[in-house]
């Protein structure tokens, strides 16, 4: 059997502020397989973003190790693409230029990167908007571009921190379906974070449930629902059952306060 794509071993994180120390993560152990769509769900403030930022290399773990393909991670890099909850398109660049950003830095030939960018813009359904500036796009469209920008870079892994959290309910389900269809085609390993249980079950191969702060991985729940999926699934029985299981786990967690 091949080694897991991403391994976290005994990862912990403290934030030191003046005289006070906040423990955000405690003893996180996680293994994510190649091509897995992994979703971490947990209550607000449990350290989900902190965990993802450590994997991205944007923050350093206080203890433990993170390995991608067996290599230890210490800094951000193009091998881990990220989509943020906030809109992070570069407002002075067009959609096309935004998607080309990472490739340009890498020194990819202009024709090659234009071709790649066009491909991913099409994949997220934004053909015709190549020359638009971010300020003219809706929130959902901005996140589509952000996904295209991350994927065009050809990352080993895609990290997503509540990317649809700022969108209205209808746009959010459209984006979830879009992500599912993109993932069907690309099969990039994804680590997705949310506090929305429906979203977690709809997307995930495995849902990792986190406890309140200091965050730990409380359980790994396999979502054995066939693909391709879309949001119509959310009213099916198998979906509701898994959702109930996760809900009870999170409720038990809040009840024990």
């Amino acid at each position: 059997m091949s080694q897991p794509k991403l391994v976290l071993q005994n990862v912990g994180k403290w934030f030191e502020s003046n005289r006070e120390s906040v423990e955000a993560l405690s003893d996180i152990n996680l293994e994510i397989e190649e091509n897995e769509l992994a979703v971490i769900v947990g209550p607000s403030g449990c350290g989900k973003s902190t965990l993802l930022n450590i994997v991205a290399g944007l923050e350093q773990a206080s203890c433990g190790v993170v390995r991608l393909n067996g290599r230890e991670i210490t800094a951000p890099g193009a091998d881990r693409g990220m989509v943020f909850q906030s809109y992070t398109l570069f407002p002075w660049l067009t959609v096309q230029q935004n998607v080309e950003f990472g490739l340009k830095i890498k020194g990819v030939h202009p024709e090659e990167r234009a071709r790649k960018a066009r491909h991913y813009i099409e994949l997220v359904g934004l053909t015709g908007f190549q020359d638009a500036l971010p300020k003219t796009l809706s929130g959902g469209m901005k996140q589509r571009v952000a996904i295209a920008r991350a994927l065009a870079n050809g990352p080993e892994m895609l990290l997503m921190d509540e990317p649809f959290g700022a969108l209205d309910a209808q746009t959010r389900s459209i984006m979830q379906d879009l992500l599912l269809s993109v993932w069907e085609k690309e099969r990039t390993t994804v680590l997705f974070i949310t506090h929305d249980i429906d979203e977690a079950v709809l997307l995930a191969d495995n849902v990792y449930v986190m406890s309140r702060r200091p965050g730990r991985i409380q359980a790994k729940i396999k979502v054995d629902i066939s693909r391709p999926r879309d949001h119509r699934l959310t009213v099916s029985r198998e979906f509701t059952e898994i959702k109930k299981e996760i809900m009870e786990m999170l409720w038990a967690e809040t009840a024990s306060v």
Partner: protein, 264 residues
């Protein structure tokens, strides 16, 4: 598309009308107060007298030369401030070390009244144009540094983080993200401080000047030539207005992508 264009232009027509309304109102009140004799002519000249004085100044051969001399001083003094303040401000806004090195000193310096430093500038820099530049520099530099550092520090962190996750190194992030992201704020700071530069012009021409609008106003004050004081103020006001519009136009040109810049 055509619908959008008409609404845009009617918006601008409305805007222009309101602006014109304000200026006309001021003029009417001025006329009423001065021509009726409600305010004595030694306090408030009539618009006619001010216009006549413009002609007088032209006859004396000072209208254009004095205006140019002042524009020259403001531009050089303020440009000196910009050239030094922008890089230092960017550094302070992005590096704790630079902040510790520069910010307390600048905070101290910006509270020193520039008027009180005039004697020192005369001692150090003589009575030439350099001394005028220095006064305008002192009046704008310290504020500008702090404004620029604020702009750089307020670039959204996630924008810089996004660049890092796309594979950009520190310098690339600085050059390709931080600098363009700071541009709209920098343009705003420039527009605001160039206005202050005009304020410091009069301070700069307070002593040891023999040309310029500030000098002219101060000399007119000595002779109680109230219409000339007004004429000088009107010129400075108009130049300020033009500079402001120029900067708005330039901002549209340089950062058309900014959320603040209207229209598409």
């Amino acid at each position: 598309m055509s619908v959008k264009r008409t609404t845009m232009s009617s918006y601008f027509n409305g805007y222009k009308k309101l602006t014109l309304f304000t200026f006309l109102s001021i003029l009417i009140v001025w006329c009423a107060l001065s021509y009726s004799g409600a305010v004595k002519e030694v306090f408030l000249p009539t618009p006619g007298a001010v216009v006549k004085d413009f002609w007088q100044m032209h006859q004396e051969g000072i209208l254009i030369p004095y205006t140019l001399a002042s524009i020259y001083r403001v531009m050089v003094g303020w440009s000196m401030a910009v050239i030094v303040a922008v890089p230092i401000g960017m550094l302070i806004g992005t590096s704790k070390t630079a902040e510790a090195l520069f910010e307390p000193a600048i905070d101290f310096a910006r509270y020193l009244p520039v008027v009180a430093m005039v004697p020192l500038t005369l001692l150090y820099f003589g009575i030439g144009d350099l001394q005028k530049f220095i006064i305008i520099f002192l009046g704008t530099f310290f504020q500008l540094v702090l404004m620029i550092s604020d702009v750089a520090a307020n670039v959204p962190k996630d924008l810089l983080r996004a660049a890092a996750t796309l594979g950009s190194n520190k310098w690339q992030t600085y050059r390709l993200v931080l600098m363009p992201a700071s541009l709209p704020g920098i343009m705003d700071s420039l527009r605001i401080t160039v206005g202050w530069a005009w304020t410091y012009l009069v301070v700069a021409e307070l002593v040891a000047a023999n040309s310029g609008l500030g000098y002219m106003i101060l000399r007119a004050q000595r002779f109680l030539a109230i219409d000339r004081i007004f004429a000088g103020l009107v010129i400075i006001g108009l130049l300020g207005l033009i500079t402001d519009y120029f900067f708005k136009w330039l901002t549209n040109l340089i950062v058309p992508w900014s959320e603040k810049v209207g229209g598409q």
